[in-house]
């Protein structure tokens, strides 16, 4: 306390305090504050709904070829997630059954076909060895394929998209692929395609 009673010392302390305040003000003059503000950020609610169109159910197979001998196009029963084709037959050159299906995107975001998975049919309980290429599966004298045209020439491909509120026509084509008739009968059971759509 004696020290603070010294007049000179009190003067020095006052000068030091004024110096500190002065430096602080000078620093504040050389500083800029930048402000970034988002007015509004909205996270919209979205729907995901990709399914088969069941408006036309069952879907009749359109037969092609010459006479109906050996050819039967069973109806296709459609639910939102499955299409099941009834027992059918293609037995001679030119025989073909075509089913016009539709995949409907009633959601609010674009759907992308991410995968096309195939399951080979079985014959007499044993799985067949089929040649698979994208949406085409050749199993002996019968070819199964998914196309985007009624003629059956353009295969459905992965990465194809369906816009929100739009539909994609998909044709299931089953045809006899040989140039001659066969002396033996073969019944293939359970050939299938699984289409995986992602958002």
């Amino acid at each position: 306390m004696k020290i603070l009673q010294n007049k000179n010392l009190r003067f020095l302390l006052l000068v030091a305090a004024i110096l500190i305040v002065g430096v602080s003000i000078a620093y504040a003059v050389l500083s800029t504050t930048l402000t970034i503000t988002f007015s509004k950020v909205t996270q919209n609610s979205i729907d995901w709904n990709v399914a088969f169109d069941t408006t036309n159910n069952p879907v009749e197979g359109t037969p092609a070829g010459t006479s109906a001998t050996g050819r039967t196009c069973g109806d296709a029963t459609v639910t939102a997630t499955t299409v099941t084709v009834a027992n059918s037959g293609v037995s001679k050159p030119g025989d073909k059954c075509t089913y016009q299906l539709s995949v409907k995107n009633t959601g609010s975001i674009l759907a992308r076909l991410a995968e096309i998975n195939t399951t080979s049919p079985s014959v007499g309980g044993s799985p067949m060895s089929c040649t698979v290429s994208g949406a085409s599966m050749v199993c002996g004298k019968i070819t199964y394929k998914l196309t985007t045209d009624a003629a059956g020439s353009t295969l459905l491909a992965t990465n194809s998209t369906i816009a929100a509120s739009a539909s994609q026509a998909v044709y299931l084509v089953v045809l006899y692929n040989d140039e001659d008739v066969s002396a033996t009968t073969q019944t293939q059971t359970g050939a299938s395609f699984a289409l995986v759509y992602n958002g």
């Binding site: 990709v50 006479s67 050996g70 039967t72 084709v85 001679k92 293939q188 395609f193």
Partner: protein, 196 residues
């Protein structure tokens, strides 16, 4: 102190697990798998067998009562060919008609898809009618020279059925006149049947 550490660790693990499950559910909610299945697809055994009924055919002759100058050669039929022996039609309206049968022993309906003709130079053809001077060749669906000529639109043979057709050759000159001498060799047809 140790209990507090254990509690904190358990909480962190539980939170992490919930996060993983939530992400998986969110992803699954944006995926649809659509399945297309064929129940049974049968490729039936079938046979294709369209052929002529073999044998030897004697012609039905036409023209005036006199057979002078008219000789209808016999036709030898195999499963795939008909060969008519030398024939002479000297007078106007002389004719020979051969009845032959196309047999479809297979399972599939057949139709006449193509008619090709073979003819020497100077002859003309229209459909199944070949004309060489006054001599005319024709295949018909009825047993008359003036009957309906076969065409790709009027000949079908169901599986397991027969179709009878008629092969004609006629001197179309007016009755009683004498034809100019002429010879025409190797006039013929190729009939191509396809599945109907």
């Amino acid at each position: 102190m140790r209990n507090k550490y254990v509690s904190t660790s358990l909480f962190v693990c539980a939170f992490g697990l919930l996060l993983v499950v939530a992400v998986a559910v969110a992803y699954a909610a944006l995926t649809s798998t659509l399945t297309i299945t064929t129940s049974q697809m049968t490729q039936q055994a079938l046979t294709w067998s369209v052929a002529l009924v073999p044998g030897t055919l004697t012609a039905t002759e036409g023209g005036d009562a006199s057979t002078t100058g008219r000789v209808c050669g016999t036709a030898t039929v195999t499963t795939t060919s008909i060969t008519v022996a030398d024939t002479t039609l000297s007078k106007g309206q002389d004719s020979c008609m051969y009845t032959f049968v196309v047999r479809n022993a297979g399972d599939i309906s057949a139709k006449l898809g193509t008619i090709n003709t073979t003819k020497p130079s100077g002859c003309t053809s229209s459909g199944s009618t070949i004309t060489c001077g006054t001599i005319q060749y024709k295949i018909t669906t009825t047993n008359s020279f003036s009957g309906t000529a076969v065409s790709t639109s009027n000949v079908t043979v169901a599986g397991g059925a027969d179709k009878t057709l008629y092969l004609h050759v006629k001197n179309t000159a007016a009755s009683g006149t004498t034809s100019t001498t002429a010879e025409y060799s190797n006039v013929g047809y190729t009939l191509v049947f396809n599945q109907n």
